[in-house]
Amino acid sequence: MSLSNHLPALQVVIPLVSAPIALLIRQRHLAWALMMVVSWLSLAISVLLWLQVSDGSVISYAIGAWPPPWGIEYRVDSLNAFILVLISGTAALVVPFSLHSIEHDMHQQQHYLFHTMFALCLAGLLGITITGDAFNVFVFLEISSLSTYVLIALSRRRQALVASFQYLMMGTIGATLIVVGIGLLYLLTGSLNIADMGTRLSTLPPSRAVYTALAFLSIGLSLKLALFPLHQWLPNAYADAPSAVSAFLAATATKVAIYVLLRFYFDVFGLPRLNEAGILPLLMALAIAAMFVASAIAIAQSDLKGLFAFSSVAQVGYIMLGVGISNDTGLTAALLHIFNHGITKGATFLLLGIVMYAIGSTDLSRLRGIGRLMPLTSAGLLLCGLSLIGIPGTSGFISKWYLVLAALEAGHGWLAFVIVVSSMLAVAYVWKFVEVAYLQEPDAGAHLQRKPVLTMALPTTVLCAATLYFGLDTRFSLGAASAAAKVLLSGVGGVTP
């Protein structure tokens, strides 16, 4: 039996099966060891899948051997292969980090529950990305969302419970709106397979039902990807969750929702239909609002986790701006920023996790002079801040550069100006950290409560190095992003560039 044929199924099955096994293994170190093996195996499978499709081919795997479009199909192409690598790569780095970071987040008897939920979340996110069936997207979306709500609530802080409840409310409304959109698409086309839906939808004349389906899907997915003004759940969820959870969510949760949006927009509706509906200018307007308003609120935050959470909302705005421009460069910029921002924010929240572990708080008032107390960590945070602003040499610069290029190509010179101006706001909130960390004296009795351990320092260093590396050598990230953009644009009703 050659396993390599079954890689798409194994990508989801391995984390999914490890969840009940972790539930049965109540010993926390064994559960962690299991998660290490599982997350690294998933990373290996993602990389193998990405290598298989890097020449532009498409892997189609029929679950249960029922041929698509009647059966559920797992479909890997250039678009979702590199998102699979992002998700499993983040998991492979967060799991070693979590061994020590969850120690003061929850009681030791509950650690195995953390690993169970993490496995379910990983399986759900991988499933959303790899499946080619619309309703399967909803099922995996809910699997990952429900396990996320639990992961957030597994913190000692009671604010985490309120944050998780608010996220549950908004996330479930979003998922239900998505399912309404999928239902309308099913009623229109009679099929649940995404590729098949697209082919059938393109033969239908424009009708109100198509636009209604588009509207429901857009709003539901906007709730999930925290597009302004539907972002209310994100700051509290990221700030109050355990550090490992914040890092994993910041790198993956909203990105996967953006992937689903791109998949539905370009493979089911197609660019001509989107232009008819006029939804892209609306997305661009909301994205610009996100970029300015969220960055402005970030400046007013006094807690570093809250500050960088609002920064995430702003960065989602940049990605959606690229989607709204929707030419080849715009989509490349959006996909590139999905990857670069995932790495940068993952690194940021891992660094903040180290700060929380060592100092016990991420509030700016407790972090005076931390540049001297924890020089490497502060340098890492400075690097991530520079990447968020978009300084040349960091990965954030590459995606902002392509975004500006896309705006100029589409003839919107004023958009390029807007992008640059909003980056100035990012300078303001990064400067807030720099001022407290480097330009203020440490408090008289300030000292580290715990020294950071290797299992926490090593993954963080890898992600920080990646933030720097992908700003200098863009062959992987840019190559993957532009291949993915071509897949999107050659979808239903599109032109092959």
Binding site: L146, A153, R156, F165, T172
Partner: protein, 124 residues
């Protein structure tokens, strides 16, 4: 055309807006969860209503019948119902924990208490 032809869809729409209104307008956390449940139920109707075809028989192959009702939406909604049950259970568990930590399940009281002590104290 006629009201009767679109009856299912009108009920779907009414349930959906009623559920959303309860989620937004009510401050009690359990009432919010009930509103969420109503909102999700409207979606079940949206899928199952069109599954019954006029003149369609039960979806079991038999000689003499050519039109069968569609069984696929029923399967999809079974999954959606299970997801709804899981969400409701998780929401209620969170409400129980919030009650223990804050002493109240009214949203405005909980938020006010959060604003009052912005220190990162553990729960209870």
């Amino acid at each position: 055309m006629s009201f009767a032809a679109y009856f299912t869809y009108i009920v779907t729409y009414l349930l959906m807006t009623a559920g959303l209104f309860i989620v937004i307008a009510r401050g009690n956390l359990i009432k919010k969860l009930i509103g969420l449940g109503i909102f999700q139920s409207s979606v079940y109707l949206l899928y199952i209503g069109p599954a019954k075809l006029i003149g369609g028989t039960a979806p079991v192959l038999a000689t003499g019948y050519s039109v069968y009702s569609n069984p696929l939406p029923h399967v999809l909604i079974l999954t959606a119902i299970v997801v709804g049950v899981a969400t409701l259970a998780l929401g209620l568990a969170l409400v129980v924990r919030i009650r223990e930590a804050y002493g109240s399940i009214e949203e405005d009281e909980v938020l006010a208490e959060d604003k009052a002590n912005t220190s990162t104290t553990g729960h209870a």
